[in-house]
């Protein structure tokens, strides 16, 4: 036997050659036209059900109404107190979470498959008979305002809010943020009427994944197939971008680090540059081996981590660079970010680096498609963004085939310092 040569890497199967397949998603329609998307897979007897309502903050007429309505969905119905609802969910070892986004707002149930039939009537009750008790709202306002005072001491929290306002404007759904005044202004009646319009009579879809009992679709139809499901028209909110580009803010005079955010507007997933930009972004700051990480963390040690990403937004998006760096090296960090942009605009990415990024992205995709919850997540992303499954294959094709020249052109178009907002909050 030959002695082991440890300098020699074992042969690789290039991930680029994987025939990745987006496993199909079963589609059903309830009597009221509500679509139900299902992935029946996995070894564990568990389920995830997600009710997606067109009830995000784009639909509200006053700040925080959508988020508060969503949050208080499970804090009381006509016949059950908040405690009784929590107790019933907790007793069955289930988790009932809610989240409010810009266009949609969701209610998500995780449970053992054997308990799902005991939990679904409760979910129906939340979606038809929530009452938003005055006392629950009062407590929510008090605790949220106090949490906010804590968060406002954190430079990363403050920077995250401000950069969004520069990109979209303070009144845009993507740019507005919470404040003590906005919490104070909330009234129970507003929640009740938002709930009535966007939940009880609202438009929704269902996403289900895990070990699916054979009668589940029938049960879902019985409990959710008679809800009104009226189509909602998305109000238009033009973005108002800030004129000033550079900001330096002192939030805490004793702070040891600065939160850096640099961002530029970027089109949404339907734009032809979106997919190639995902590849360029990976090279730039999208993974541990990226240019930004290699230079600013691994070479200079300015930060624990630096990342770039394209925001997960439906209407219009932004390309963001985000990090926390030592107070004394913040300006040097900003300079290095621009230097990396310059590099991408002026010099072709080597075939070696590009091939590494292609393999890394394909391997990641293979892992991301593993498991029922991951799969339904990918389908949900396509469906909510109104993209066909072909978009997935186009992504793969672009990862495999986009050229260094194409990426350099893209860098010239989008990675221009003068287009970026630049913010440091200490």
């Amino acid at each position: 036997m030959n002695p082991l040569n440890r300098k020699q890497a074992p042969p690789l199967v290039d991930a680029v050659h994987y025939q990745l397949e987006l496993k199909p998603c079963e589609q059903h329609t309830l009597d009221n036209g509500v679509p139900v998307y299902m992935i029946d897979a996995g070894a564990e007897e568990v389920l995830q059900l997600e009710w997606v309502f067109w009830a995000g903050n784009s639909y509200e007429e006053q700040n925080l109404i959508a988020a508060t309505t969503n949050y208080l969905l499970k804090n009381g119905t006509a016949t059950k107190s908040s405690y009784q609802i929590d107790e019933q969910v907790d007793y069955l070892g289930a988790y009932l979470n809610r989240s409010c986004f810009n266009e949609q707002a969701t209610l998500t149930l995780h449970c053992l498959s054997k308990h799902v039939e005991k939990l679904l009537p409760l979910v129906r009750e939340l979606l038809t008979e929530a009452v938003f008790p005055e006392e629950e709202l009062r407590l929510y306002k008090q605790n949220m305002k106090q949490r906010l005072t804590v968060n406002l001491r954190k430079c990363d929290f403050v920077a995250g809010r401000l950069i969004d306002t520069y990109l979209f404007g303070e009144t845009h759904p993507y740019g507005k943020f919470s404040s003590a005044e906005a919490y104070d202004a909330l009234e129970r009646d507003q929640l009740v009427s938002f709930y009535d319009r966007y939940y009880r009579n609202g438009q929704f879809a269902l996403f289900v994944a895990g070990k699916i009992p054979s009668n589940l679709i029938g049960v879902l139809n019985q409990l959710f197939g008679d809800l009104p499901n009226s189509a909602q028209l998305l109000p238009s909110h033009p973005a108002k971008q800030a004129v000033q580009k550079k900001y330096r803010i002192e939030n805490d005079a004793t702070g040891m680090q600065g939160a850096i955010r640099m961002a530029r507007p970027f089109p949404n997933r339907h734009h032809e540059d979106f997919i190639p930009a995902l590849v360029l972004n990976t090279v730039f700051g999208g993974f541990f081996g990226s240019r930004l990480m290699s230079n600013i963390r691994e070479d200079k040690g300015y930060t624990y981590g630096i990342h770039s990403y394209i925001l997960n937004l439906q209407q219009t998006s932004a390309w963001m660079i985000s990090t926390e760096a030592g107070k004394e090296v913040c300006e040097a960090t900003v300079k290095e970010v621009y230097a990396e942009m310059e590099q991408l605009r002026s010099t072709l990415i080597s075939e070696e680096e590009l091939s590494l990024v292609r393999n890394y992205m394909m391997g990641g995709l293979l892992g991301d498609l593993d498991g029922p919850f991951q799969l339904i997540g990918r389908w949900k992303n396509l469906i909510l963004n109104e993209l066909p499954p072909a978009h997935f294959y186009k992504t793969i094709d672009t990862i495999r085939n986009c050229s260094a020249e194409q990426l350099r052109e893209l860098a010239k178009r989008y990675l221009q310092p003068e287009d970026f907002y630049e913010l440091v909050v200490i």
């Binding site: 991930a15 070894a43 568990v46 008090q142 590494l356």
Partner: protein, 412 residues
């Protein structure tokens, strides 16, 4: 039921294989039996700093990350007070790449000055980001020092102070490596779309010739039984007062561990739990209240921690909390409450076991504790806990002389 096979190489490396052909991926998890508790009190933060250095190149492979990314893989690591764990996920076809990379860094690191200098800085920024530059970031630093007088749990994994990391020298790094990063102090778990026979062959090929090293014999000073309640006051520029109380509890293998874990859930595991219902919802004294523990190997701390609603005095909040504690000590939990937290544990385990990565790290962890097969009997351990046991544990634990209290006052 998680199936696995166990092999031991000549050099003492334990190898566990868990096959799941429903995934196209493989996971390679290497656990080293060393954590922050094994550090010299004058060189704290070392185990964690070391975790960073493990990515700075090994003796035959100048760059760890690049070849892995080329293989379509991802990796990360974490350090706790008890252990250090490294994991890779990659397409199963490229499994051997993970063996090549992990075995070379077990053989020896490159030990390069530049990498040490950079990672010292990176870890200092991590220290600032998570502990120094965050409101309430120093709560655990203080609480550990209050609760542990001799046991090395008295410092956090990030370290006691920045200076310990700033002063780390290359020779100390080498010594640490050859003491702890050896086959006989490690556990290798390979999981996913893999074949046991092939894994054994790869393990022999890549890890077989690494010198065994000396088995590390942990002899830590054990914390003496606390005999008097301890209190400490702090003031900081934060918006809200915070109350943090801890009580010494059983270690991971202690007889009372499972009952204590369920007690923690009964008190504070979710919205229907006692403390949240009484103190946040009913009496409106706390903005939030958490009850938790870290599941540490040596005797740990059951913790109750919450921020006070503005205008509520520390005395009032602490008194109300004490009433709840007295109640559980006197009456114990109801059968329904106990069943609820058992159900929660059952579903938590099912959700955790969905991911191959999580199964692999659990196998490694239970093997470290004594036997990977315990992973499959864990649920029974919880199921057999009775209300009487929880009551007994509560009375044992919540004695005033076993408590440590931190009053963290906001100076605004």
């Amino acid at each position: 039921m998680i199936q696995f096979e166990r092999f031991v190489l000549q050099n003492g490396l334990r190898v566990l294989v868990h096959t799941d052909v429903s995934t196209p991926m493989a996971v390679v998890n290497v656990l080293y039996d060393v954590g922050a508790r094994d550090e010299n009190p004058k060189q704290t933060g070392f185990a964690h700093l070391f975790e960073h250095l493990m990515f700075g190149g090994s003796v035959n492979i100048p760059d760890y990350d690049e070849p892995l990314q080329m293989a379509g893989g991802e990796n990360n690591a974490y350090t706790t007070n008890d252990l250090t764990n490294y994991y890779i996920q990659l397409p199963a076809d490229n499994l051997e790449t993970a063996f090549w990379l992990e075995s070379d860094r077990m053989l020896s690191l490159a030990f390069n000055e530049k990498s040490l200098a950079t990672q010292r800085k990176v870890v200092c920024e991590e220290f600032k980001e998570n502990y120094l530059n965050k409101p309430y970031g120093d709560v655990w630093h203080t609480m550990r020092q209050l609760a542990y007088q001799v046991h090395p749990y008295q410092w956090m994994t990030i370290g006691k102070e920045l200076a310990h990391i700033e002063q780390a020298q290359l020779q100390q790094v080498k010594d640490f490596f050859f003491k702890h990063y050896t086959p006989c102090n490690a556990i290798l778990v390979v999981a996913g779309n893999v074949h046991a026979g092939k894994v054994v062959a790869l393990a022999e090929k890549w890890f077989g010739d690494i010198p065994s090293g000396t088995k590390y014999n942990r002899q830590l000073p054990q914390e003496p039984t606390q005999t008097k309640a301890r209190q400490k006051e702090m003031r900081a520029a934060v918006p809200l007062d915070l109350l943090c109380k801890t009580w010494h509890m059983a270690g991971r293998l202690g007889e009372d561990y499972h009952a204590t874990d369920l007690l923690t859930d009964i008190l504070g595991g979710n919205n229907s739990s006692r403390l949240y219902q009484q103190l946040v919802k009913e009496q409106k004294l706390f903005v939030h209240l958490d009850c938790y523990h870290f599941g540490s190997s040596d005797p740990g701390l059951l913790t109750i921690e919450g921020k006070l609603v503005e205008g509520i005095s520390m005395e009032k909040a602490e008194q109300a909390l004490q009433i709840e504690i007295d109640k559980i000590c006197k009456e114990g939990p109801s059968e329904q409450e106990l069943q609820k937290v058992k159900n929660k544990t059952e579903s938590l385990i099912a959700f955790e076991d969905m991911s191959v990565m999580s199964r692999a790290s659990s196998l490694a962890y239970y093997e470290l504790l004594g036997d990977a097969a315990w992973m499959n009997t864990e649920l029974q351990q919880y199921a057999s806990v009775t209300t009487a046991q929880i009551n007994e544990v509560s009375n044992q634990l919540f004695r005033a002389e076993n408590s440590n209290t931190l009053y963290y006052y906001a100076t605004k």
